[in-house]
């Protein structure tokens, strides 16, 4: 099992691991979300969820990807200037429903995947549930 301290080095990230609010945060820097997912698979980390935030003043969104490694919760924030980010569904099957839910709740497109019918039944327009303004 990889130790927490060695994770930045294992991932090739220079930023340190910071424990804050119950999560070991690591800024992914130039690492893409797909590279991160592949690395988490290699470490045998367990995918937990993605938490989406809409940033104020049209600054886009922040997606926080969480994996569990030996009982420790890892967090990787990705800021989206636009409305899209690569899907990791083909690398991590467990991400399917949360990508679909965020797509429907925040109108964020996860590129490279298809969507099955809505998870959230009310309404047909993505973004109506959690996003403040549907564009």
């Amino acid at each position: 099992m990889t130790s927490l301290e060695s994770i930045p080095e294992t991932l090739g990230i220079t930023a340190p691991l910071v424990l804050k609010g119950g999560v070991h945060w690591l800024e992914p820097g130039v690492m893409t979300v797909r590279e991160l997912a592949a690395s988490m698979n290699a470490l045998q980390a367990r995918f937990i969820t993605i938490t989406a935030y809409q940033l104020p003043h049209d600054e886009g969104f922040r997606l926080e990807y969480h994996w569990d490694l030996g009982g420790q919760l890892l967090g990787f924030p990705f800021v989206l200037a636009g409305n899209s980010i690569d899907s990791i569904y083909d690398l991590c099957e467990a991400v399917d429903w949360i990508e679909r839910e965020i797509h429907e709740g925040f109108a964020i497109d996860f590129l490279g995947r298809t969507y099955e019918p809505l998870l959230l039944r009310q309404g047909d327009t993505p973004g109506v549930n959690l996003r403040e303004e549907v564009k």
Binding site: K20, G21, G22, V23, R46, F47, I48, T49, T51, A52, Y53, E64, H66, G70, G71, Q72, L73, G75, C92, E93, A94, D96, W97, I98, E116, P117, L118, L119, L120, R121, Q122, N129, L130
Partner: protein, 360 residues
């Protein structure tokens, strides 16, 4: 020739609304699609309109069975933002209520599983046992569903006589050993309906990211009470039951053994409960800006709450809830592949699904 059989969203085999589109050849299921969201309530969005007292009452309504777990996880997150640490007695009370809730949930599930097997007498036995647990929860909290036990910095109610609860624990343990576990493990009805049915392999369980008893029944030894202890779990001795087979019987066995482990934890928590305060008092609570996350092992698996607060805000700016059924439900598709159509109600029930949690 294949044909589609829709099960749900409203169906006698389902406790709550969801839809399973089963693609069958003869009596054999070849593929399945799951549809949820028929009762989606937008609770995460509602939480942004509630203050720190109201949001606890709101999140208690995410689930009718593990209501306490939701407030526990939420309060643990908010305690990180407020810097409040619950007193030791409160941590023990949190363990007691969480384990009583696990008992109630697992025994309820065993009853429903028995009903789906066509084993009605076992259903009645399990529900009689469940009543004993519910009576204790009512005696402690005054409520049978939403216990309102948790608050930021501790709990709302004390357990005045912890040793009185032990009598129920012993009665439940006795009945589990004498009746429930032997019947579920040896009766031909249970064996023929459960063994080798609805298999989720270890590899598929890992890939789907399943949690709780569903994961442990597929050979994955994960349990946050041991791996990332919260409340007073670090002071409890217990085992994490794991079964390798990944079938309905394994999921049934894991829960049955977990009932015994819960009784073991309850006995320790009730006898070792320290004296003292049960919360940090009624002083004004001040939130630091930021995000805090907490995870708890609910009866069905891992629950995670992320709570964000802005400077001087009255309400949270975001509350994200990842419930165990949300993680476990997609795996049902793989469990029913190749199964007999008649087994699908029991297979889908074997993950102990909660659509109330999923449609939060």
């Amino acid at each position: 020739m294949s044909y589609k059989i829709p099960m749900g969203p409203y169906h006698p085999a389902l406790e709550e609304p969801y839809k399973l589109d089963l693609i069958c050849e003869g009596e054999t299921v070849r593929d399945a699609k799951l549809h949820i969201g028929f009762n989606f309530r937008g609770i995460e969005h509602l939480a942004e309109t509630r203050n720190y007292i109201q949001v606890i009452a709101l999140m208690e309504r995410v689930c009718g069975i593990c209501s306490n777990i939701h407030t526990l996880t939420l309060c643990q997150s908010m305690e990180q933002l407020t810097g409040l640490t619950p007193p030791p007695r409160a941590l023990y009370i949190r363990v007691v209520v969480a384990e009583l809730e696990r008992l109630h949930s697992h025994v309820l599930w065993a009853g429903i599983a028995a009903k789906l097997m066509g084993f009605k007498t076992m259903f009645m036995t399990c529900f009689e046992l469940r009543e004993k647990v519910m009576d204790v929860l009512q005696a402690i909290s005054g409520n049978r569903v939403n216990y309102s036990m948790n608050r930021i910095g501790g709990v709302n109610r004390d357990i005045d006589d912890p040793l009185a609860v032990l009598a129920m624990v012993q009665a439940l343990e006795r009945e589990m050993v004498r009746t429930v576990i032997p019947i579920f493990t040896t009766s031909s009805t249970a064996r023929s309906r459960c063994a080798g049915i609805g298999i989720l392999t270890r590899e598929k369980a890992l890939s789907c990211g399943v949690v709780g008893p569903t994961a442990r029944a597929s050979g994955l030894p994960q349990d946050l009470r041991r791996d990332a202890p919260y409340a007073a779990y670090s002071e409890m001795e217990f085992n994490v039951p794991v079964q390798p087979d990944g079938d309905v019987r394994a999921r049934l066995l894991v829960r049955a053994l977990e009932i015994m482990e819960s009784c073991k934890i309850l006995r320790q928590a009730l006898t070792k409960m320290p004296p003292g305060e049960i919360n940090t008092g009624d002083a004004k609570i001040v939130f630091a800006a930021g995000t805090a996350t907490s995870r708890v092992e609910a009866p069905r698996g891992e629950v995670m709450y992320s709570v964000s607060w802005k400077q001087d805000a009255k309400n949270p700016s975001r509350v994200h809830v990842r419930t165990p059924t949300f993680a476990n439900m997609p795996s049902v598709r793989w469990m029913v592949l190749g199964a007999r159509l008649a087994d699908t109600p029991l297979i889908q029930a074997s993950i102990d699904p909660c659509y109330s949690c999923t449609d939060r």
